[in-house]
């Protein structure tokens, strides 16, 4: 086998191994699967039903007609699954680092950026499974995008998952201990989710506050949600695609730098721990 083909085979084996490990861990932690699913379902069944009459949605792209509020928030809840999963990956990276298994991954004979990307992709695959199970349950709740939309949404979900996973990865390079993860919940997950178009259209937010509207517009999570929303109805939102791609590249670069042995915070942090 030539060197190039051998490298390619090695890279694909590593991706398979990392994905399989994530999947096995996921199977072993079934509670994680159900809790990841219960969260958006509670929002769909309870929150959306309750707010249906309060939060009417006018005709806005990609919808061709008036829709129920449940239908509006479904892509946002898909985004919620990806967001929580991305942060869960971040938590698992910190846990892996504390437990030491991160060392095994990072001392493997493959480029570090590739190992981190594999880890990220493996997390996204697990999240995708959750999203499609959620969409299947939502179908029984009469939320039925065009059948082709389920397929068209796949690349959008992958990209959104990569962006949010990369954000989690970048954060994990900075988080010292598992205990600090509560801060991530308060300072990243909630603001990102609520200051976005996941729960209400941006024009409604603009009615209330121009500043909040601008913040929501700058929030990459808004674009991830809009990308998924449009894709589910067979439409490409080019602005959201560009922003999600750009944010993915940026977060991934920050993550790779964070885990870089020369520039990253890993050595400084471990140094502090060693001297402590």
């Amino acid at each position: 086998m030539s060197g190039g083909r051998r490298d390619l085979a090695h890279a694909s084996l590593a991706l398979r191994g990392i994905a399989r490990r994530e999947a096995l861990r996921f199977v072993h932690q079934r509670g994680r699967f159900f809790s990841a699913l219960v969260r958006p379902l509670v929002w769909l069944f309870i929150f959306a039903a309750g707010f249906r009459s309060v939060l009417g949605v006018s005709i806005i792209p990609p919808y061709q007609t008036y829709i129920l509020y449940e239908e509006y928030i479904t892509p946002g809840l898909c985004g919620m699954i990806l967001l929580f999963n991305g942060m869960q990956s971040s938590l698992s990276m910190v846990y892996d680092r504390e437990m030491g298994s991160m060392r095994v991954l990072l001392s493997s004979p493959l480029p570090r950026w590739y190992l981190l990307f594999c880890k990220l992709l493996a997390g996204v695959l697990v999240a995708l499974l959750q999203v499609y199970v959620f969409l299947a349950i939502a179908w029984f709740w009469d939320i039925r995008p065009p059948p082709a939309g389920y397929l068209a949404a796949l690349p959008a979900l992958v990209l959104a998952g990569i962006m949010l996973g990369a954000l989690g990865l970048a954060l994990s390079a900075r988080i010292r201990q598992l205990e600090n993860f509560a801060g991530v919940m308060n300072f990243v997950i909630f603001p990102m989710f609520f200051a976005s178009s996941a729960l209400y259209p941006l024009w409604k937010i603009r009615d209330s506050s121009e500043l909040l509207f601008r913040i929501c517009q700058w929030n990459p999570f808004t674009h991830a949600v809009e990308l998924v929303r449009h894709a589910l109805y067979g439409v490409i939102d080019w602005t959201s695609l560009g922003v999600t791609l750009g944010a993915s590249a940026l977060f991934l670069a920050i993550a790779v730098l964070g885990y870089d042995p020369l520039r990253g915070s890993l050595a400084r942090r471990e140094g502090a721990a060693t001297r402590a």
Partner: protein, 277 residues
Amino acid sequence: MRGEGDSVERGQATGDAATERAGEARALAERPPAALEVGALGFRYGRHVALEDVAFEVPRGRFVALLGANGAGKTTLFSIATGLFSAGSGRVRVLGHDLARESGAALAELGVVFQRPTLDGDLTVRQNLAYFADLHGLPRAEARARIERSLLRHKLGALGERAVVTLSGGQRRRVELARALLHDPAVLLCDEPTVGLDAPSRRAFLAHVRALATAADGLGVLWATHLFDEIEPGDRVVLLERGRVRALGELDALLLEHGAGDVGTLFATLGAGMDER
């Protein structure tokens, strides 16, 4: 005439020296590379000097003990040797591959048992080994065969399907060792691997690793410890103190050189804060 004779002699001498130098260079080039070569290694955490001008070799088929008290720099050295940190200065070569420039080739020849257990507790022993085989690019059939051989070699045959979380400390360490050697590396780095084990497990684990170093495949072993009862006569020893190499050589020669009757006396003279067991 005399001047001419001097010149001939000088010419001859110069020729001899050149031949000698060329011979030395040839011998050096022909010498098989060390399993691990650490040269002029330096590292700082901010202002704190963790390692300074550290240099030693682990030849193939040798057991080398890296001795040092807590905070001597052993774990930092391991972090650099495994590519987790970049060296501030100096170099690390694994079987002749420079870790900075050919990290893939160097890391492929490295097996590591880290100080803290690094197995995935939820996964079975076989699943942990298979994950590692994938990370090292072992094709599926070969990986399966190696895992079976490895389970037998490290007396783990009956534990393959057990979740790691159900194993004893000693068994987990053996699994980590099996994993570290699965890809047939040239050098094995063990960072205080007996910490937390009871005395019989500790002795058994150490004896097992020593046997691996003397086996036919010529595995070089770097064994970091702060327990000097883990060192035996004939071992090559690197004594690290506050990030610097204080002594380097065969234990017997070091004892002779420093007029010490036993390992404890030697280290009382050379090092500080070592634990005695």
